[in-house]
């Protein structure tokens, strides 16, 4: 087994689609009165569009695309701060490719690189660490970005740097947590969600119980899901089945990867290196309490905020107004589709993204744009809308 092809099997998908249709019919889901299922994670959004799952599932099922793309929700002020660090003379600024095109108020990292900053894309914080070893004369800063899935990698890298006594490595920490914004969404009086697809790789780290509040406090089903199309369809089926059966539980479709209680080494590393910030700004959602992490004082030597006196470490993130007229918050809470935003595809495009959700290829507006939500809709989908 190679754990990929098996979960991309069109035959299995066909079976699942039929079963989904059956259960959807059983609970009376129709295009007019759809079941709203939010996939929280941008990785799931991406997979749904890449495989066209939104067009294949029963028309009574409507996917609401959640805030689970850390690139999309990164405030412009933080990008400005990245640029500010990256443009310092002696700095090699390292980042995942995802963040390169995110616009700040003045420029993106890609533009800062074009303007002369030494900015390098890496695949792993370990590669940044290696750069620090190889360039003792330079300050190597890693742009730590991501949810709980990614947080352990930077925590372990900081621990490793400390073990080696590297003094020229630091992390600009922008790690955020998935549960807090879900609570915000669920507390919204306009909330229409009937169930959730939970981010499997986040749970690989934190386990499935951090989502208990969704079932217990808010009475909504959630299924922690893998990222292959069969995983997603099976999870949709499991959500629907819970709805049909009147249950609200945290289920684990992705048990091959997700241990119930997560990964203890990762959790220990996070706890050792990071602590919660009082609050953190989310693009399109605003400040959310205890939703972001910062580096503990004992690792201050590895904290780019402290080292460069920039950002939360020095003062609160600058208040940067989002561009006017963006529908991002409405899209993220499921109240409109991307195509319902007046800016979609006109002044807001992947080339020149205005809103958060157009920024990353995982952002739902970008996915809509890239994968065809904007042009002639599929006849089936058209009927459904």
């Amino acid at each position: 087994m190679r754990y990929v092809e098996e979960f991309r099997d069109p035959k299995a998908a066909k079976v699942l689609l039929a079963e989904i249709a059956k259960v959807a019919d059983e609970i009376g889901a129709t295009p007019e009165k759809p079941v709203h299922i939010m996939e929280i994670c941008g990785g799931h959004t991406h997979a749904i569009f890449r495989y066209g799952l939104d067009r294949l599932t029963h028309p009574g099922i409507e996917f609401i695309h959640g805030p689970g793309c850390p690139v999309c929700v990164l405030p412009m002020a933080r990008v400005d701060e990245c640029v500010e660090i990256a443009e310092q003379d002696n700095v090699i600024f390292t980042t995942f490719g995802d963040a390169m095109r995110v616009p700040g108020t003045k420029k993106s990292l890609l533009q800062a690189k074009a303007d002369g900053a030494d900015i390098r894309m890496v695949y792993s914080p370990l590669d940044a660490l290696e750069l620090a070893r190889r360039h003792p004369e330079k300050e190597v800063v890693f742009f730590g970005l991501g949810f709980e899935t990614t947080t352990p990698s930077t925590a372990l890298s900081i621990q490793q740097a400390a073990r080696e006594g590297l003094t020229n490595f630091s992390v600009f920490c922008n790690h955020i947590a998935v549960p807090p914004p879900i609570r915000v969404l669920l507390s919204d009086p306009h909330m229409v969600l009937d169930g959730f697809i939970g981010p499997g790789h986040v749970s690989m780290v934190i386990g499935i119980h951090p989502y208990d509040f969704i079932a217990e406090e808010f009475g909504k089903p959630i299924v922690v899901a893998g990222f292959e199309p069969v995983d997603l369809l099976q999870s949709v089926l499991m959500v629907l089945t819970q709805i049909r059966d009147g249950r609200a539980e945290v289920e684990n479709q992705y048990a091959r990867v997700v241990p119930e209680h997560g990964n203890p080494v990762s959790l220990a590393a996070i706890a050792d290196v990071y602590e919660p910030r009082p609050s953190f700004a989310w693009r399109g959602l605003g400040e959310i309490d205890a939703s972001g992490l910062c580096i503990r004082p004992k690792y201050a030597a590895y904290d780019a905020e402290a080292k460069f006196g920039i950002g939360y470490g020095a003062k609160r993130a600058r208040d940067v107004a989002e561009p006017e007229g963006t529908g991002c918050a409405l899209v993220m809470t499921g109240r409109i589709k991307p195509t319902g935003c007046a800016l979609f595809g006109t002044t807001c495009t992947p080339e020149n993204p205005l809103g958060a959700l157009m920024v990353s290829s995982e952002g739902v507006c970008a996915a809509y744009y890239q994968y065809g939500g904007r042009r002639t809709p599929d006849p089936a989908t058209e009927a459904a809308e």
Partner: protein, 96 residues
């Protein structure tokens, strides 16, 4: 931030730093196995893991994977049976 992919540990490259070589469809990359260490490091060789940004984050549970696929299989067979029954019924009707 959830791009994770299955890869097989094929070699321990640096036991001190807990680094190992992972293979993803014939593409190799050194990854940290710090998160999945649970016994002697050599025991990881041959294991399938879930890899994210250069870290093996989870050992893939073969039994769980098989169980998931098995459930689908059951579903498929049930549907087929149902289909056959329906076709049989149709045939009977047609024959009637």
């Amino acid at each position: 931030m959830c791009l994770g992919i299955p890869g097989q540990i094929i070699e321990i490259t640096d036991p001190d730093r807990l680094m190992a070589m992972a293979d993803v469809s014939g593409v190799r990359r050194e990854v940290s196995v710090a998160c999945i260490l649970d016994g002697p490091i050599d025991g990881l060789i041959g294991k399938w893991t879930l890899i994210h940004v250069g870290f093996a984050m989870s050992v893939i549970d073969e039994a769980e994977a098989a169980a998931t696929l098995e459930a689908l299989h059951g579903l498929g067979e049930a549907q087929e049976t149902l289909e056959q029954m329906r076709e049989g019924a149709k045939a009977l009707e047609a024959g009637a």
